[in-house]
Amino acid sequence: MNSKLKIAIAVTLGTASLLLGIYFYLLQKDFSRDYKEVSGQFHTLESSFGQINYEILQSALFAYHNQDTISSRLTKLRETYKMLTESSMLRQKQYARVMKAVEDAADDIDNYENGINRYMMINAGIKNSFVFLASLMRKDASSLSLDKELQDEIYTIIDQFSTARRMLDADYLDDTEKLLEKLDNSHLAKNQREFIDTFILHAKFIIKNFPNYINSINSLLQAQTELNIRQIRELFIKTSQNDFQILDRLAYILLGVFIIAMVMIISLLIRSGIENIRLLRLQKELQYSLTHDQLTGLLNRVSYDTIIQQTNVPTLLLLNINNFKHINDFYGNETGDIILQEISSLIKLPLIEPYNPKFFRMGGDDFGILLNKTDLVHAERSARAIATTIESYPFIVDNIEIFITVSISVNNVDPFMENADMALKHLKTDYNDNVIVFTTDMRLKEKVQLNIATMQRIKSAIEENRIVPYYQPIFNLQTEEVEKYEALVRIEQRDDKVLKPSDFMDVAVQTPYYKEISNSMLEQTIARFRSFNYRFSINLNMRDILNSSFNKDFFKILDQNIETARRLDIELLENEELFNLDLVIDFIHRVNRYGCRVAVDDFGSGYSNFSYVSSLPIDILKIDGSLIRHIVNDKRKLNTVKTIIAFAQNLKLEIVAEYIEDRETAELLKSLGVTHAQGYYFGRPSKTIV
């Protein structure tokens, strides 16, 4: 598993546990609120029964009783019950059974309430009657002078009533009715009759209603409804246990997810810590390997480039092991490496402080020692000390001592590395010493040597006929066909490399070989086109046509090839040197007579001069490649080209554009009025003509 995925998982788990935590919190908050509410309502409901029963017993016992308490408790009970039936918690699916039971209890509640109402109705009458029976006797009976037997009878009846009431037992009234009948049948005075009638009315009321009264009290007190509600509450609590368990489980899951997330985060932190340390070390190593040479531990070439720029007055000692290639070949690369390592230590031995030396391995067997703020005398002394140290050190290879010689150049002239390198080459070829100090004349010598080399190349090329014309097609933009070819000089080297004019012409013009190159080109080209019926052009320098010797040879060749010369065009290369305009005009007239046309080449480059071009009787103007190459994007060059075209059109000159490398440039030029074009887009210079 990659670390990104791990981080994603840890973040997801973390977020999940957070969200789950919030969800859990809200859930349990809602749940416990709902639970408290509903169980509270059940509790209120249950306790209402007890309170009402208490009130009922009070109302049964006391003559005067405020019934508001009963009615308000009943109201409360009814309201609580209504809240239960509307409870959102019980409406959830898992509480369907509880809800059903609650709803089913509606009749119970109604019956209970009706029972109480009924009880209160009977209770009022019974109570009043008992009061009457008692007070009647006390107040009225005494004044009525009832006879003893009647009085006893009445007392017996009252005693039966009071026992029945005390015992809440109707059985005590079993024979009361008979006594009443007897009472009713007695012969009485009118006022006695009225009293006895009222007495009998109440007594009969009690006898008739007392069993109902007791039943009604008992049924209220035994309260099946209360039992039912308790059972519903128990069912509710049992059902809610499931929810509690779900909450419990959720809490465990939450804890689990949280712990996993924490473990992952912690392990990721630890890992990333380790990773960081590793990265830091790697970075250091990388930094080191970027700035240091792996084999020797010295600073490397990259470091040198940086350090040299930060050094105020640098002097560079460049050390090269003589014949190191030989050592490597003879003793093996391993030995070579050991020697390089040992040298890297040896060069540090001579005391060349306080010049703040820095040691480099420049690559291969080149070492550099950079000194700061020293003079050449001290630097050379240091170089010699180093050379001596190394050359006197016996390197042990396979128990054989071998000695090594080195060359050291000392240089304090910018560019430090190049100059030191040049000096080292001088040391290796010219000197018999092991230390050399760079001097500026070494650079001139270098150039001369290069020129000599080039000259030798040209010389051998002429001798071995390796001056070769390459031909590049020139297109007519109107007909879109090849109209002519330009012959371009090349030297084919022995190693198959092809030299362009820029590689050797600067040197060639300084030498007598130049004329030979020109002649050779002319002869070969004419020979080639003798049988190849296209126009073609050759390049001549202004200097050439002013050279009488050249002129002589040139026209001699033309004379020998009158037919072919008719298709020859001459491209004149401008030159910074002053020249005789008349002589040039003469030359042009002269070649015109052979049928040759004359072009001014590279117009628009360095020395272009509108005035002299307009005074030459030429036919063709070739726009310099440096203008053409960027014409599409460079507005100034485009404007210059437009000017040149307008100029050429005014002089009625044929216009050839060079260096066309793409279609876009070609079409732009065509739209500007250029008639002829050459370049890689149309065809590369080639030895053979297709």
């Binding site: 006391f62 019934q67 109705m121 009022a124 009457f132």
Partner: protein
């Protein structure tokens, strides 16, 4: 249960509250602005279909919140089927209507507006009429903050007003609070009221209104089934001729008496009640004293009626 009885006997002495409780002198749970809007609606004939009847038509403040007619007259001169009970102190009633068919004032107020005999309206029509009245719209908006008047708000305001209709500081309440003494006759009347058993049913804060009782508990009372009694709610044989025990507060002002308005004076009512429901025939002086006592139950006119 035995335990409960034991407990009862132990606590009986201390748990006896007075059988009658005075009305609070001041009620603090009223939203006055709402109650004043309710007051206006209470007398609003727009609430009846032919715009002739309001709540006040049958619950007159000049007659103790009740109707002096034997039965009230609703829209189109239609006659009601029972004597109109008082609206005063009705917030303390355990149930509403003579037969206690609803529990709350809110449910009660919903009744007459829809009763075809009384106001013959429906919620939509009431809303429409009130919403057409710019003044009502403004007043409702001030109380309820909504732009459209809804029927529930109408009922709510009326109920709030009714809850304010309390008549405190009757002579008897002041007696109960030990502020004054009753005169001899009144005191004798109160004693008879207790001894003769009136108090068995007429007790509590509203002196009644906390239980049902049969008209004719001892001596059967004329029953012809034309009055909406408790039986019309429970459909139980034993609930025939059973009505809610009415309040005795302001009884002096709310003649005629009983569900059938059959007694025009207090002494006749007492005579009828004691005969049928107490099984006694009271002596003339007792009746006189009880009347004197009942007259002490007249409280002050509810403050909300005269509030500006």
């Amino acid at each position: 249960m035995k335990k409960l009885i034991l407990l009862l006997t132990i606590f009986a002495a201390v748990s006896i509250a007075g059988p009658i409780v005075p009305l609070p002198r001041k009620i603090n749970d009223i939203d006055i602005k709402k109650a004043l809007l309710g007051r206006k609606l209470f007398s609003e004939t727009l609430l009846s279909s032919d715009r002739t009847v309001s709540c006040h038509s049958c619950h007159s403040f000049d007659y103790g919140g009740a109707d002096p007619r034997i039965v009230s007259v609703g829209i189109d001169e239609k006659h009601g089927n029972i004597q109109s009970p008082t609206v005063y102190n009705s917030r303390y009633n355990f149930k509403q209507f003579w037969n206690g068919r609803v529990n709350t004032l809110k449910e009660q107020a919903d009744g007459p507006t829809h009763n075809p005999m009384e106001m013959g309206m429906n919620a939509l029509l009431i809303e429409k009429r009130l919403n057409n009245d710019k003044e009502y719209k403004k007043e409702f908006a001030a109380v309820y903050g909504s732009s459209e008047i809804r029927y529930e708000q109408v009922i709510d305001a009326i109920v709030e007003f009714e809850r304010a209709l309390v008549t405190p500081d009757s002579k008897f309440d002041r007696f109960l609070r030990n502020e004054i003494k009753l005169n001899k006759e009144e005191m004798k009347g109160y004693l008879a009221f207790k001894q003769r058993g009136c108090i068995t049913c007429h007790n509590g804060i509203n002196i009644g209104e906390n239980s049902f009782q049969r008209m004719g508990l001892f001596v059967p009372y004329d029953f012809n089934g034309s009055y909406p009694d408790r039986h019309s709610v429970t459909h139980k044989e034993q609930d025939k001729n059973v009505f809610k025990v009415p309040t005795l507060r302001n009884i002096e002002l709310t003649a005629p008496y009983f569900h059938d308005g059959s007694s025009k004076t207090l002494d006749k009512a007492i005579r009828k009640m004691s005969h049928h429901n107490l099984g006694v025939n009271l002596k003339e002086d007792e009746i006189h004293n009880i009347v004197q006592f009942l007259k002490t139950l007249t409280g002050k006119r509810p403050a909300i009626l005269d509030l500006k």
